[in-house]
Symmetry: C2
Subunit: 471 residues, 2 copies
């Protein structure tokens, strides 16, 4: 998919600028529409090939107010966090354009060049594969990604190094790389060739052509705002609803027994969560009134309030809707070592599917996106513990009524809750599909029957210990 | 204003919990209403007095999903950033509750105790005054702040230090303080007494009473959601509209002359901005089509795109409206050493005043709030350069029409622009009041006549050099 057309032609600069600005305003105006998108421009390349200059020129041609630029030194990929994490919160909203000087690819290159602890070939290729999958997920979620490599032959680089003014060195931080070493130059070229198939390669030797090629490539990307398909292809194979959802039954637990076991378990869970060297993400889904709040309260009972964070997920805000639906979770993941989610990213395949907030194409695709997202977490020092609290329809009704009749619980019940209840069967179907498709080995679901609150809470605590291998 | 009532009584725990949860839901439901507020709880005190335990108990009594807790080690107040900056972005939205373990007060105490470079008495007191002013500004903007000091007599502290379990030490990081030193204990007590007049002092000796006092205090704060007054008191003294606004006239500049001067000035400005050790914040306000975009383009012309950030300010989003109006600017200030704002916090006293988005009480109060905000910046290594681009009404009309008739500029003009134009005189009045009240010595306004674009751009660049004392 090379974009190196031989028919490249310089444009009149004034004309190029006018077209770029028009395209900027047009993309801004697609916000909220079906053909809306944002654009991320990954810029990388050989030192002194002129990527800084090309972006500078671009920013003179465009309306600079609507082109963000971010530049950070590379971060070593050490399996402590997903490669996208340092960048995820900067992913722009629909209508916006972002140039990233440092990106997951510079991190990868830098890690591979790391003298003391380089990564091996297969891991390197695995990273490339993951990065491409991530970019594809971004694209599907209205974030277009284009990648541009600024190249420079060895001799030209050496000449530029000879001529560089000391005052300019500021912008040529070498990040531990020695651009005078031919061996290293060749290594970088070999390494980058393993991922630059789908990049635009810009030769940095001719300044004018370089800047124009770069800008024209962006112009083409900006102009290309296709509508997103909403109709799903093929029939949907509905999973069978498991018995644990249809008839959630749990043993009732005697109050004294409950209290005794709870006391021990809360201690053990606090200790296990606190001492686990990994981050722990605990995820709660389930029908309204299934007891999510109560379960969370018991998990944190013996923890210090400074040790954990609870994220209560409501409907997304307008500014969140203009970004990939996982975006609002990315930024909530590293707040504490112990993060508890009261409702989650699974909203995509539950409420958003059922209420039509996500199109069939979107929610059908979401299972794989979520699996990739969770895999990126679990492969990077994070445990993901997922709970579905399964309540029976009768017990839910009883709890709703109790809430309505208790002064201090009346706030906990709204019209929405009764409305959701009418779609009970739809939720069961959606949950069944969710289990079938996202019950992965690295992040399995725990379905907990909750008609008896006591035994449900005990079961949640035991499941945490089990998954942490601390029981 | 001591809240140490002698008539303190323990409540039934169940009852206390029920009331806290009800109050939480009630405050959540005030969102967007005139009596809406959020609550920030500053927690500080003598080590081992039990602030962690009290918050833990509180979180058991409340619905923990709607009570955020943040704890960070103290930061030395070194005049490199305003004291509120590390905390500002966490200021909660209406309906939310936040417990801050570390706050500006712990930073102040820690700075004062700093062995190598303590701050003197007058600076210490000045900080306290500024902090109280900041808290008052928060309160006026729907963020209630309550402050609780957990106290412990010297002997009781020593006893607890003797008894502490090594495994608990985790939560008693001493931040360089030696709680075995009586002298230091006394110094801390003296220092904190200079700011704890308006704090609730909780004695940490009796655990049960401590936790209840703390929780009841919060309960009272939650229940107290008075309506915000919207009617301003007293007549508004309208400032006289200066001639520079009524008849903005500038010399026309010949194109060749312009180009020659521009070339030199853009170099000088880039150099001055780059080498200034302070952060530079450049602020643009003015009527539509006055040339803000063009001026910004020339400022950044010789800068590398990685050196600066341009913030284009549009109408606030829903989630921003639920916080103090300065909140969305706080988080945009430290993005780069050079920050340019295309429209700013002055929207409060311009468009929000004119369109009625801010009540008279709010916009009248905003001048002082803004002055305090800018002073906090300028006293902490930040230069604030403020421009009003003054265009004549005729020239604006000419530019609007030109925009409508030029294909690539049509995006730059909307119905809103014509509508705002109808309120021309209101904007002039609001601008006049703004100059009179916010043209401070530390952050003066530069009014630039812009009917001639060339000389306007030159004037902007020269004003930057002048204020940076780099000309």
């Amino acid at each position: 998919m090379s974009q190196q057309k031989n028919d490249f032609q310089l444009m009149d600069e004034q004309q190029l600028s006018v077209e770029l600005i028009s395209a900027q305003y047009e993309i801004k105006n697609t916000r909220g529409q079906n053909n809306a998108k944002s654009l991320v421009i990954l810029v990388n390349g050989i030192e002194l090939a002129g990527k800084g200059e090309a972006v500078k020129q671009l920013r003179e041609w465009v309306d600079p107010r609507y082109l963000k630029v971010k530049a950070d030194p590379p971060i070593v990929l050490d399996r402590q966090h997903p490669f996208w994490q340092p960048y995820a919160r900067f992913i722009p909203a629909e209508g916006q354009i972002l140039v990233l000087f440092g990106s997951w690819y510079s991190d990868l290159l830098s890690t591979a060049m790391h003298a003391s602890n380089p990564i091996d070939d297969s891991l390197y290729d695995e990273y490339i594969e993951r990065m491409r999958a991530y970019e594809q997920d971004l694209k599907n979620n209205h974030v277009d990604v284009i990648k541009i490599w600024f190249d420079l032959p060895w001799k030209a680089l050496q000449k530029r190094l000879d001529e560089i003014e000391p005052s300019d060195m500021h912008w040529h931080k070498l990040h531990g790389l020695d651009w005078r070493s031919k061996k290293q130059y060749e290594t970088i070229q070999q390494l980058r060739q393993r991922f630059t198939d789908d990049w635009l390669i810009v030769d940095g030797e001719d300044e004018n052509e370089r800047n124009q090629k770069f800008a024209q490539h962006i112009l083409n990307a900006l102009k290309d705002c296709p509508k997103h398909s909403t109709k799903a292809v093929g029939r949907w194979k509905q999973a069978k609803i498991p018995k644990t959802l249809l008839e959630p039954s749990n043993e009732t637990l005697d109050k004294d027994e409950y209290k005794a076991r709870l006391k021990k378990l809360t201690q053990k869970v606090a200790h296990a969560l606190r001492t686990d060297p990994r981050c722990v993400v605990i995820v709660f889904e389930g029908m309204d009134a299934a007891g999510k709040g109560g379960a969370i309260k018991r998990i944190v009972k013996k923890l210090d309030p400074r040790e954990y964070e609870i994220h209560t997920i409501a409907a997304p805000e307008q500014y969140e809707l203009r970004r990939p639906y996982l975006w609002r979770f990315w930024s909530k993941l590293n707040t504490e070592d112990i993060c508890i989610f009261d409702r989650t990213w699974y909203g995509r395949v539950l409420v958003e599917r059922i209420e039509g907030f996500a199109t069939p194409v979107e929610w059908r695709r979401a299972y794989d996106e979520i699996n990739r997202f969770e895999r990126d977490l679990t492969e990077n020092q994070t445990v993901v513990i997922k709970f579905w609290l399964a309540i029976s329809k009768d017990e839910q009704e009883a709890r709703f009524k109790a809430r309505e009749n208790t002064a201090h619980k009346r706030f906990k019940i709204t019209e929405d809750d009764w409305r959701n209840r009418e779609r009970w069967d739809d939720y069961l179907k959606a949950a069944a599909d969710m289990f079938e498709r996202t019950n992965t080995e690295n992040a399995p679901w725990h379905v907990i029957a909750t008609d008896d609150k006591y035994s449900a809470r005990i079961a949640v605590l035991e499941a945490i210990l089990k998954q942490l291998k601390a029981n």
